[in-house]
Amino acid sequence: MVKRSVIPFGPQHPVLPEPIHLDLVVEDERIVEAIPSIGFVHRGLESLIEKRDFNQMTYVVERTCGICSFQHGMGYCETVEKIFDVEIPRRAKFLRTIWAEMSRMHSHLLWAGLLADAFGYENLFYQCWRIREKVLDLQEMTSGGRVIFSVNKVGGVIKDMDADMLKAILETIKDVEKELKVIKKTFFDDYSVKSRLKGVGILTPEQINALGAVGPMARASGVENDMRRLGYAAYSEIDFEPVVSNDCDCYARCYVRIMEIFQSIDIIRQAIAKIPDESDLSVPIKGNPNGEAFVRLEQPRGEAFYYVKANGKPNLQRMRVRTPTFANVLALCEMLKNTEVADVGLLVVTIDPCISCTER
């Protein structure tokens, strides 16, 4: 019989930008079980509802996570708007869509870079991050912030994009698209990249459904769930098809995310073509929210879930964010079984972990 031993992984690990700890039970080099322990980044953000009113909470919720910051703000605002039962101006919807897709682009590029770093392809890592900076420049130009840009408010958005900005966005994404096509080739066709990714970390659609995995993780295993189809913001007026792969492995997850960057470029183009010329960016909100609402939306990492309950006071009764990584951690542990220790870093990265989201 092979002797079992436990290898601790994390919380501080070169491959991880964020702390997560896994106890890997191994037999020789093979992992038998992985037990996650989280809580290194737990802040208790949901308790701040007692101290901040529902408008101020927008900015707290945006700081759930720095990468999908905009989408967190948007999700929270959509939820409170649903309680108020207000419809935000059409232009604000389109602006939200454009910003949301920009943040998806930068998040996926960031992930692609980290993946390249995890399999030891430093050049590719730097190339991804170089391209990503162009998207960040666009975010800074339109909102004033590079990663956290607080442009949402309950009832609409705060900032507008003028014609010059929209033109600059179109020019930059054309540039990004051109460069992406080059790195896409490396990710999809390179011999060594393929040998690291193909057939590693298989998750069947049945496992995905049983463990509740979401987003690109699910779509890479043939489970087509894309919350953008719910038609929040301006997605109801945009033509897109969720990217799905049936390979179920790390390569498929890579494929889905890279193709989603192209999809985001396409969505931004459509949104800019259709954006209406209005001067109103928000509707006035009177009084305090009263009621409860559940809202789902598609973040770069998958389905995020917002729940707000209020009783007519400025402070909410309950605010809950279920982030995509929280749903994906269990799938990660399942995926780690029967893999080699050397692949752990890579596998952890392929779920696109966002630990600060997870623990809030």
Binding site: P14, P17, H42, L110, E133, I148
Partner: protein, 148 residues
Amino acid sequence: MANITRSPWLLHYDGSSCNGCDIEVLACLTPVYDAERFGIVNTGDPMQADIFLITGGVNEQNIPVVKQLYEQMPEPKVVVAVGVCACTGGVFKDCYNIIGGADQAIPVDIYVPGCAARPQAIIDGIVKAIGLFQERLENSEKESDKVG
């Protein structure tokens, strides 16, 4: 050889930040901002690190981790707190699980403000840290000369 100085190695740890500062720290190390041109090298190994970049406040669970990482680093060392959360606790100051800024766990030398801290500010912090590190290195060399 007088103008050849040691390249300080940099260790980055995410306390309980929201990630915003972490990706900005990483952005600093990648092509556009490229802090490595100042002679630093990013490492994942505390035992070889000279500058400790910490983002986010500290909480009950990561205090021992932060302390351990700091103790594992060889002398002399410099600590840079990046972002308002690492400085004071930031927006999360009132949360039940946040003790405060990074200085609640370890001595911090340089505070970089911002939410999220901009790459320019982080680079400024790193450059200051390099200066402080050289100063401490010279001081410790002088002292060891005296002893020797």
